[in-house]
Symmetry: C2
Subunit: 119 residues, 2 copies
């Protein structure tokens, strides 16, 4: 599928040691960063083709259409790749919570306060 990627989208992913690249999902409207998951070329191609965010689950070892079970889908508005071809940024219309905890975003735990107390 990497060959297809190259010919179809003119991009070759620079994969990490685990054969994946990180993919950041950002709310297309609010700009809030919702979550980070992982993709290979096949996941990226499926995402671009179906406009449903599709990741590779490192824990389950399988492709994972976000929201397929929970209903908390991500409709893909735009996809960008970074200057090194090793990170993907998705802007999405998020249905419901992005996080499996029920929080809107996975990044609900602030570390900064603790650091401030140390400063």
């Amino acid at each position: 599928m990497i060959a297809d990627m190259e010919s179809t989208f003119d991009v070759e992913l620079k994969l990490g040691r685990d054969g994946l690249v990180p993919a950041v999902a950002q709310d297309a409207t609010s700009g809030e960063v919702l979550m980070l998951a992982w993709m290979d070329a096949e996941a990226l191609e499926r995402t671009l083709t179906t406009r449903r965010a599709t990741y590779w689950s490192r824990s389950r070892g399988e492709y994972w259409v976000k929201g397929e079970t929970s209903g908390h889908t991500q409709e893909v508005v735009s996809v960008a790749i970074d200057c090194d071809n090793d990170t993907i940024l998705l802007k999405v219309n998020q249905t419901g919570a992005a996080c499996h905890t029920g929080n809107r975003t996975c990044f609900f735990t602030e570390l900064t306060g603790a650091a401030g107390e140390q400063a």
Copy 2:
């Protein structure tokens, strides 16, 4: 330093195979996602303590204070960790371009148009 992290910030990073976690830097004002780099516990602690975004450079194999050479520093406004303790989100005041290409963000290459033509 992981022990320090646990006692100081009450967080234990869940590291990837390469001993790192991805760290997303987002413009604290505009919400724009600027770049993604990599951290270990030491980089996170340095970032929290100094309020200067500090990453681990995979290519150079050393800690890297963003902007130390270019002057394009990132003043850290807030730091969050995700629900799985395996991704960091920094909100930063970015001086100059975040990207080494001179672009404001590393994500200046859109893939979505090509996909739209295929659909």
